[in-house]
């Protein structure tokens, strides 16, 4: 019996050791992450089937709002362009909208307010696991897209940001047209009835109801309509996507 027991113990420890070491080997390999990443496409397609593109993220009441809206990632962009705008309390701020559009535009926050304004209390889920609830005021992205006239060739909306994650590596993100035109997709300029604070992305950030926090780019400088994001940075559609995170962040 003792022989059997020690054999079994060795077998279990050996199996666990091989499992953990093997997983790390696969994670480092060129093929492993690609195979494991196949789940992303499945998640995106199946979730689109189960949760239609028109479905709305839950909205909450004033009583549910978090006392502090936790800020993650950049909390103070250090680029010269941003610092110059901040020094003037963003009075000179204009959002550039271009790419595959019929009427490229430069829009101030007031211009955006004239296009559309709406308020929503939604939950923000970080990829790390925590959630906060905040009240957002902003302009529906769809109103901006209609204003500039989107070329039928355009498939993605790319959000360029003022903040750099590393030297010469600006934050950016991208959305498909369906998510971009969802009624809860906002360009937000107010949080909890105050001007958007700098740690949360002043003067303008993206808010989407049905994807994780890293998709919701802060410090927006420019919106570009493109057919493909292959040529932007490392070509994965976003800063965190270039670090190995999923482009589809619905789960």
């Amino acid at each position: 019996m003792t022989d059997r027991r020690s054999f079994l113990r060795l077998a279990i420890m050996g199996a666990a050791g091989i499992l953990v070491a093997g997983c790390d080997q696969i994670s480092q390999s060129s093929w492993g992450p690609k195979i494991l990443g196949k789940a992303e496409g499945l998640n995106r397609r199946v979730q689109a089937l189960l949760s239609p593109s028109s479905a709305m993220a839950p909205e909450y009441s004033e009583a549910d709002i978090s006392a502090v809206f936790r800020a993650n990632g950049t909390t103070m962009p250090t680029t010269e362009a941003y610092q110059a705008l901040l020094a003037n309390q963003f009075r000179d701020y204009k959002l550039q909208v271009d790419g595959l559009v019929s009427r490229p535009a430069l829009l101030s926050i007031d211009d955006l307010k004239k296009l559309d304004t709406r308020t929503q209390i939604t939950r923000h889920d970080c990829v790390e696991g925590w959630s906060v609830i905040g009240k957002w005021q902003g302009t529906a992205l769809s109103a901006v897209l209609d204003h500039v006239g989107v070329d039928p060739q355009a498939r993605f909306v790319v959000f360029h940001c003022f903040d750099e994650m590393e030297a010469d590596t600006p934050y950016y993100e991208s959305l498909g047209m369906e998510e971009a035109r969802h009624p809860q997709t906002l360009l937000a300029y107010r949080l909890n009835d105050q001007a958007l604070p700098v740690p949360n992305g002043a003067p303008l950030r993206l808010r989407i109801g049905r994807q994780l926090g890293y998709k919701q780019a802060k410090y927006l400088s420019r919106i570009e309509l493109v057919h493909s994001f292959d040529a932007i940075a490392d070509g994965n559609g976003g800063y965190w996507e270039d670090q190995g995170y999923e482009w589809y962040a619905g789960i």
Partner: protein, 309 residues
């Protein structure tokens, strides 16, 4: 087909001169069908990898909360890292108002280079070993699909082959014997002979709860954490109290699976580990014929009735 007789061949002249006591006493019965064996081991792999990669994901925010929001200071569980006056890292596990020093395992443990770092669960419990949330998510979602598809195949197969109705659903006499069964388990007494082929009431309840409460529950709680799915799962979210509640329940069920696994492996160890492993690998399970006190006119039919898919 379903019944094998070990070395027993009374008409064979080779066997005639020697006594065949041992040969007469055990019989190999085909107990687990190939699909069940395959699905069992696929499940072992998928659940292990989801558990280890799940702890990697948990480590990105090593706290549990209730409701929809994470409220700092009001966590149900927090694996913190602090510094003592001498500047050493101290791991502190906080459950509600209670605190425990858990340096080395929870809150603070050695990184791959042997230096203590702040991390919820230690690197030997996470896939991948180092802090790597993006990769942990890839492992988790890949094997979540393996787990879900394998689980759906299992439930479908168990229904169609009546494994569920025949072997898992408790009969009235099972319920009547529950006190006896608990007493047998407490004394580590296991049925012998043909009775060993039949799942007892506690086994039936355990398997049903693991499949239909833990299995379905953990998948639903995982989906309730998805912001896209929450656009249609609002009622479920309200039912459990919110997204952070769903995350907490997901975590608790994961550890409930571990608790089940410990009991399951313990029972396998004390009820004849090699026989049980052979049963789940080759399908054949040995029973002791001496203890069989029923008359079996046709062993093939008797085994067919008793077979566990």
């Amino acid at each position: 087909m379903n019944t094998d007789t070990v070395a027993e061949s009374p008409h064979s002249p080779a066997n005639a001169p020697t006594p065949v006591v041992r040969a007469r006493s055990t019989r190999l019965v085909y107990r687990h069908t190939l699909p069940i064996r395959l699905m069992h081991w696929i499940n072992v792999i998928a659940l292990s990898l989801m558990f280890f990669s799940g702890l990697q994901i948990f480590n990105a925010s090593p706290v549990l909360s209730w409701g929809n929001r994470t409220v700092p200071g009001r966590e149900l569980l927090a694996l913190d890292a602090r510094q003592d006056p001498a500047g050493h890292m101290v791991g502190v596990t906080r459950i509600g108002q209670h605190q425990f020093t858990t340096t080395g395992v929870l809150g603070v443990s050695n990184g791959s280079d042997g230096v203590p770092v702040a991390r919820g669960f230690p690197s030997w419990l996470t896939v991948p070993g180092p802090n790597w949330l993006a990769m942990g998510r890839r492992w988790h979602f890949f094997f979540a699909w393996v787990f879900v598809l394998n689980g759906l195949c299992y439930i479908g197969y168990a229904l169609v082959r009546r494994h569920l109705q025949r072997d898992l659903w408790p009969t009235r006499s099972d319920w009547r014997g529950i006190g006896r069964s608990i007493w047998d388990h407490v004394r580590f007494k296991h049925p012998q002979g043909a009775e060993a082929l039949r799942y007892n009431i506690l086994q039936r309840l355990a398997y049903l709860i693991v499949v239909f409460v833990f299995g379905i529950g953990i998948v639903l709680m995982g989906l309730a954490m998805s912001p896209r799915m929450d656009a249609v799962l609002s009622p479920l979210l309200t039912l459990v109290g919110g997204r952070q509640s769903a995350r907490t329940i997901h975590f608790i069920i994961a550890w409930a699976f571990v608790a089940f696994l410990l009991v399951h492996v313990f029972e396998v160890l004390i009820s004849g580990v090699f026989n049980q492993l052979r049963g789940m690998i080759t399908g054949y399970f040995a029973i002791d014929c001496d203890r069989v006190d029923v008359v079996e006119p046709d062993p093939t039919i008797a085994a067919e009735e008793r077979r566990h898919d």
